[in-house]
């Protein structure tokens, strides 16, 4: 039996985290939730996710700060990440330069509201 891919959903809104988790589980993935960047970093070692769905705007540690830490943590240099944002990409980029954070080959950037199908396609694309 092929082991199920494990996805970590990092999202500060409980409802949204839960909904994404349910969507992923419905597709046969194993999903775990973290509620901010700090929480996610703490869970990283024990959970060892195959992919991370990451919200950008979060209190305590936002998605970009988390991404930087993730990339410098051993074994996670290439862990695929799907970034979610409710702010239009060009505004987001003007506020937060993506230098050194975005890596096209292992990251996807999706603007909310996201079709669940689009999210699933992005995930399966990155996991291949």
């Amino acid at each position: 039996m092929v082991p199920r891919a494990k996805i970590m959903v990092v999202e500060d809104d409980f409802d949204e985290a839960k909904l994404i988790k349910m969507i992923l589980e419905g597709e046969g993935y194993e999903a775990v939730c973290a509620f901010n960047g700090k929480d996610a970093l703490e869970k990283l070692e024990s959970e060892e996710p195959d992919l991370i769905v990451l919200d950008i705007m979060m209190p305590e540690m936002d998605g970009f700060a988390f991404c930087e830490k993730l990339r410098s943590s051993p074994g996670n240099e290439n862990t695929p990440v799907v970034l979610l944002t409710a702010v239009a990409q060009h505004i987001q980029e003007s506020k937060y330069p993506l230098n050194g954070v975005m890596r096209a080959e292992v990251q996807e950037y999706l603007e909310k509201p996201i079709e669940p199908e689009t999210l699933l396609a992005a995930i399966s694309g990155l996991l291949e």
């Binding site: 949204e16 839960k18 969507i23 209190p59 505004i91 909310k112 509201p113």
Partner: protein, 506 residues
């Protein structure tokens, strides 16, 4: 090098009129001993513009000044550049023998300063121009004064004045056929005297007598100074008519020129204010739209995901998934409703404001509404109602909204476990009641505290509508109330809303 300084020329030497001291017919300037030494000249030789009887004064005009203005004369400019910062325009520092003249001059300068001061504080262009016009009229001893500004296409000079208690508007073509038009077209001071007399020149600027006919008056002396912007473009003309003394002196010219500068400053200031206001408005609209869009996108995200799960759950007959997703969907529909109510709550009209009634009941009702959510979030929600609070005078809808938003805000701030939100009411004055909402959340630093009542400045960008506390501030403001926030990082927060019962109907 010890070269001798070049000799300073007096006007009669520079202009070669042949009417210097000792000549057969010496000019008034050449005999004006009060000006002796001013700007290094002999008698009035280097302050000739300040001597009554040259440009337009008295019976006798100096030959140099026929049909021209001292302030644009080459000799005036020469002396000004030679003397630099020590240039004396008036004979103030030396040789003032006439105390009354000195007092008048000081009065004029003070009036200019007063106008300048007023512009710095309470500003309205129309009023300011009216004040400047009136000051210019008084200080030149004129019968009337007028400011005309260039407007329209083709450009014309527009002004307004009161004649016999009636407001009249005047429009003068941007053309040299009138004295005002001449001043504007040539960017040049015009000083006319004895307009209906035989001496009045037909060369150069001419007073348009049609104006007198229309206004049923007679103008004998007339001063028109161009008003220029920072780029030296003529934006208007300031005029004075009918000097009490029969003519306008070079001092009058100088002061009117300064008033022209004040008008130019006022116009520039008005432009600046308009630009700033529209920039602030645009930026506020931009922020509001961006904030709303952000909030709606988050809600839409939850609705879309929720509906996806429900559809899938229906296909697989999973009642458990339907129920879980429906609960979330329901909350987000509620959040959408909250958003629209918050937007609508920014209504400048206070509804049912004086209705009032039982404040404790309203607060209790809100707390009960949130009891279920408190359990779901593992937050301990308590209510402590004060004595003597009711009956109170308040806008029940507004206060209801305030308490809802404060509780949502407190919930969002609470830690993931062992959250606590305490709501209380108290009477704090004969005509004042207080509602407080406290939480044991992560608290706020000073910077966050300073921004919490602004639109979409939430530290919980995902959960709230971003309008909640801004709405609270608006409602409290309309109650003549105030909000106190006590909080520090890690120490929770307490919001105290003080509602004044001194209702002012808006």
């Amino acid at each position: 090098m010890n070269g001798a300084e070049p000799r300073k020329l007096n006007c009669w030497e520079s202009l070669g009129c042949g009417r210097g001291p000792g000549s057969l017919d010496p000019c008034v300037v050449a005999t004006d001993s009060a000006g002796n030494g001013v700007n290094g000249g002999t008698n009035g030789g280097r302050s000739c513009w300040a001597v009554v009887g040259t440009v337009s004064g008295g019976e006798e005009l100096a030959p140099c000044a026929q049909g021209t203005s001292c302030l644009t004369c080459d000799f005036f400019r020469l002396v000004k550049s030679e003397e630099g910062p020590s240039f004396q325009f008036l004979k103030l520092a030396k040789g003032v023998s006439d105390l009354q003249e000195l007092q008048e001059t000081i009065g004029r300068v003070e009036s200019l300063m007063a106008i300048h001061e007023r512009m710095r504080t309470d500003f309205d262009l129309r009023t300011t121009i009216r004040e400047i016009t009136e000051e210019a009229r008084k200080l030149t001893g004129a019968q009337r004064s007028l400011v005309l500004l260039v407007r329209g296409k083709p450009p014309a000079l527009h002004g307004e004045f009161v004649l016999k208690g009636e407001l009249k508007r005047v429009k003068i073509d941007f053309h040299e056929s009138s004295a005002v038009g001449y001043a504007a077209v040539h960017n040049h001071m015009v000083n006319l005297k004895n307009i209906y007399g035989a001496l009045h020149s037909s060369i150069g600027p001419v007073f348009n007598r049609a104006f007198d006919k229309q206004c049923d008056c007679r103008t004998h002396s007339f001063l028109a100074a161009p008003i220029c912007d920072a780029q030296e473009r003529v934006i208007g003309v300031i005029t004075a008519a009918n000097a009490r003394k029969g003519f306008f002196s070079s001092d009058d010219e100088w002061f009117v020129e300064k008033y022209a500068t004040e008008v130019a400053l006022a116009v520039e200031k008005q432009k600046f204010i308009q630009q700033s206001v529209s920039a602030v408005r645009l930026s506020a609209i931009g922020e509001t739209v961006a904030g709303l869009s952000h909030c709606i996108k988050n809600i839409a995200q939850a609705l879309r995901a929720g509906s996806h799960i429900i559809k899938r759950a229906i296909r697989s007959n999973s009642v458990q998934d339907i129920s879980a997703a429906w609960g979330i969907l329901d909350r987000h529909i509620e959040r959408l409703a909250d958003l629209s109510i918050d937007v609508l709550a920014y209504d400048p009209v206070v509804r049912e404001r004086s209705k009032g009634g039982a404040l404790n009941e309203v607060v209790r009702h809100v707390v009960e509404l949130f009891e279920e959510e408190a359990r779901a979030r593992a937050v301990q929600l308590t209510l402590d109602v004060g004595d003597n609070v009711d009956p109170a005078k308040f806008d029940p809808m507004g206060i209801y909204r305030c308490v809802v938003n404060l509780i949502i805000n407190a919930f969002d701030a609470c830690p993931l476990s062992d959250g606590m939100v305490a709501v209380a009411t108290r009477r704090t004055g004969e005509k004042e009641v207080m509602i407080s909402v406290a939480d044991n959340g992560r608290g706020m630093d000073e910077e966050t505290k300073a921004a919490i009542f602004e639109f979409f400045r939430t530290s919980q960008p995902r959960r709230g509508t971003g309008l909640g506390l801004a709405t609270v501030a608006d409602i409290v403001d309309r109650h003549n109330g105030r909000i106190e926030v006590d909080s520090e990082v890690g120490g929770g927060a307490i919001f105290k809303v003080f509602v004044s019962e001194d209702i002012v109907v808006v």
